[in-house]
Symmetry: D2
Subunit: 347 residues, 4 copies
């Protein structure tokens, strides 16, 4: 009974069912089959953008490196929060494509601001020595961030304006996008992303699929020849149908948002219980990831039992840990961890 | 009813069954789960090499670029048959890791010989200008080759000797390894590969899995830190268990070889029928891919009906096409294509 | 007294004189000084192309990799003669920027033809599998070729037409451009190159400078941000003035062409003597490099004495060697080698 | 009469003289000539390390990227001060070789400490997620730093110990090494570097040469095949003799240290005058670069007249500028700027 992350199980039962049903049918490979076509259609409807290109890849690192390699010339760099996935947890995959990640420090929410991007851009484009420095050409943001926080529409609009002012591309990593969009703190919809970003991806792996991310490309420069990039970076699945089937299922009958809502509701329930029992949280709970601050005796008891991942040292005595829910989290699991948590600080 | 390739369907039913059974169990990610551990153990038993490292990746291009990136320093190149997958059909993935593919012409079987590798190596290492040329450091071979042909043990032993003489690494791409090992033309076993190669992979995608390749690393230099390479190149699957479950199933009760044998038997049956009906084949049939030479009127009828892939222009009037079988090919499918084929040349 | 290559000495005395004269003057760095500005102006006059961009780099490999990196997206490849410098003698520098060199076989002159480029392009852009192959985006030619041969205007016009038809860039490596332009076989002028190529470079290193190549960029896509590329690839000389001073000198009072003519005249003189004495040459002599075919006893005597570079085995008994002249070759040197050569076959 | 940087002029007259003297002599190319051999010998004597390899490259960025590419596997990163040249002023050249620069914040001196490197290393090598992060494998330091400060022997010994403890390579960028070694604050000698570093380079460009850096390789892993790396990265000069002649001259009769001492003495003289006149300096003056803090009216007068480079905004009203001396700085130049400086704050 673990809360380690949102990819502990296989896939949502509806996905497994569809994979079984279709298993023996013959289709051509490389995501040119009918399931992928249908999944593309349904996603373009949801984002209300007929002209977008939708591609399916297996995982997030692969997706990020393909989009970024497709978007940048060799001397270009990409802004990212210092805590951003591409800066910390992709083993230098972006640098391995030849590009510098220009890391910017953020607050505990892990969000970049339009103003800081503007300042950082201007510091790179000076009169005299600019060609001795990497030229920023893209802003990478995650929504929700690594710390489970969401951008507001106003923040994203401001970022878009800065990007337009300086010719920067805006790319949004949506590994946990569903959890963000259903958050009570979020005033954005999928269709807003298609209007505000040059490219973004809709995560599947952490959102109930066996694996898979759906990349949406808006900017024609990134669209061009993108399938070559997928293939070259090792992201073209032979049996691409598996991706089509999964995303078609996720975007049928609102399943994607239902999964997300169930997980977020349960995480926020645990968060309220934590607060009621006197625990502090590292950041305001917004999505399916919450970060209680535990003392040594508390985390020595809870962490192994629930597989909680260490997140950050807060001070000499206490650390923040991650509790993460998913489509597979049950009410029983919630009750169990809440009961254990509260017993810790009950007098 | 297609014979286009060996990845037209989902997975072998036993694999689907295991995925369903295990779907709701919680495991940690990134191939450190119990299913992967068991799959590693069983593979190491089959290859009789306790000290080997076994890793699981999603696809072949990804696997090739990860192994090659792990093996070479920046100035190193890799020998390949001109028809080799890395030279033709991976969109320059190897060059995108910075390395030159040193293509060598071969006969229609697509096999490199030890003697030609030796000659090519020596031509790169001359007294005066060698540092102006790429330094060869690896030999890449596919077994079976792209053209469905297999290496003999003697050929592989000779290649190993040349590699040892000049400090070259030997890497074998086994995307269709099972089909090769059960071929009547093959005198190699899996355990021989572990003795003769520095690294090789056992293909899953084209051998009945949904996806997945099992890389076996023998040489300590390639082994070192290989998980970093997998992650950096985008090949680390979050729900790595999916790979473990599939390979454990494939290597339980001999399923991998059964699947292979069924497909090869059916391909060779079609080949014999073709020959009996007076067709020529591009190469001697050896594995699950056969390449009949068809005239215009013949291929215009057969190719669309059975999804046959164009392979090569033979002369102004005739072309070679590929017929490819798999675990999912049935006797009915074989009868159907045989009947259609023979009716073409029946007086 | 060597004929090994055309970079055996320092620089032409007029260049050394100018370097001495200007040595103590202060200028800003990185080729933004007045000497570079003047050299750019004079080169733009000679090529009759006010809108071109002219940059100065130190060496040829550096220049090739900077231009190619600036021109291609990651999935793009570049056509080259199999004997082309980028394919053989740059230690995989192009692959190290991530791009495949698509090598095409040529005759002994080392020239690509427009027809073969067209065929090769079409073979890469098929209906079904094109994204599994590198996409050709540039044609790289050397003029003169590695074998000392020159393109005619008609050949270059035909190549331009093919490039236009398929959206390919045409890049000309002019490491020995001067020797080509003054060849009696050449009907091209510098200004033609600016009309027919997207980019080319005017070699200095092998043409009387201490070092240096002047890149001329015509196509706006390659021009954009090119100084970033120079810097990133390590080609931006701090004391860029050294390049400006040299190229200004070379293009003052026709020095560049005078140097070239002197060298070509002397090479062709030796070639005629060789032919008169009964020697065969590997290719028709056209520029400052000629390739006599010598028997074992002949080359054992001549090669060490004149530092002749082995070029190619012709048959079991004879080999082609290179005789290369430069600005520093004197009439005395010519007489000496001619006398030795002729004494070999004198009855 | 500029103090912008230390590469405003050509070369020290003794170098120019030697280049003139040797200009017409013939030598083979690519640094295999007799001048390079002699320069290697004399450098190995000065560093007292017969077994070292010494190579000559044209510039610093080229040198850094060649050494780093030679040293790292694809998943390796390199620690650098955030202000380090490879992190800021090489247009992402290191990332373009595929490697992440792991930037660490420093004090105003720009020096890394052994303790911070140890902490940063340990933060990358955690139990669970280490392969999701770049693996640090090298420490890059500049001596003097970008800010003109020098490491003490104790600091370097401590860094070596940390490197040994964790298997890290230590690489020292000596673009201005001479100015550092003659600093009154420095207790290191050239031979200490050969004992403490795996690789370092002795700068020529900023130390009186036309161009050129002498790389000293100690660690066998970096030494291996290094000429291939130089060639592949575009750093192999055809007329390599130019590098040999320059370094042989610099290391004859102590010229290198004389040049350095003259420049440092003059810089420190100006620094004392500044302090006497009431100016603050950004860092304690140690080498040939000093950084006075000027008010708006002061820098508007001085900066254009002496070509002073903006260095840093100190507060709303004042900025630090760089005054940089070299072999070509004369006593007259020093008097002039001192006189102007002091007149600014004279009552």
């Amino acid at each position: 009974m673990l809360f380690t992350c949102d990819y502990l199980e296989g896939a949502h039962p509806k996905i497994m069912e569809r994979l079984m049903e279709t298993n023996i049918r013959q289709t051509i490979g490389y995501s040119e089959d009918v399931y992928c076509q249908r999944a593309r259609t349904v996603i373009k409807e949801v984002i209300d953008r007929e002209g977008a290109d939708v591609h399916f890849l297996v995982g997030g690192t692969q997706t990020n490196m393909s989009v970024i390699a497709a978007s940048l010339r060799p001397h270009h760099g990409v802004f990212s929060a210092a805590s951003g996935h591409i800066n910390v947890h992709e083993t230098g995959a972006i640098e391995a494509t030849g590009h510098k990640v220009l890391a910017l420090e953020t607050g505990s929410e892990g969000k970049l601001t339009a103003a800081q991007v503007e300042r950082a851009y201007l510091a790179h484009i000076t009169d005299e020595t600019h060609e001795h420095m990497v030229k920023p050409h893209m802003v990478y943001i995650s929504n929700p961030t690594e710390n489970g926080c969401v951008y507001t529409k106003a923040e994203l609009v401001a970022m878009r304006e800065v990007c337009d002012r300086y010719g920067l591309l805006l790319y949004l990593d949506g590994a946990r996008l569903g959890y963000g969009l259903v958050s009570p703190c979020c005033d954005l919809q999928l269709r807003d992303l298609a209007r505000l970003c040059d490219a973004f991806y809709i995560g599947g792996t952490k959102q109930g699929a066996l694996f898979g991310e759906a990349v949406v490309l808006i900017n024609p420069e990134i669209k061009s020849d993108f399938r070559y990039l997928i293939k070259q970076r090792g992201g073209m699945l032979a049996k691409g149908r598996l991706l089509g089937i999964q995303f078609e299922t996720l975007f049928t009958d609102n399943l994607y948002f239902e999964i997300s809502k169930g997980a977020v509701d349960r995480a926020l329930h645990i968060a309220r219980t934590l607060e009621n029992c006197g625990f502090e949280l590292l950041t305001t709970p917004q999505t399916n990831q919450i970060f209680p601050i535990l003392t040594r005796s508390e985390y020595e008891l809870l962490a192994p039992r629930y597989g909680l991942e260490w997140w950050k040292d807060v001070d000499a005595e206490s650390k923040a840990f991650r509790i993460c829910t998913s489509w597979a989290t049950t009410d029983e699991m919630v009750s169990a961890i809440e009961s254990d948590i509260c017993s810790l600080r009950r007098k």
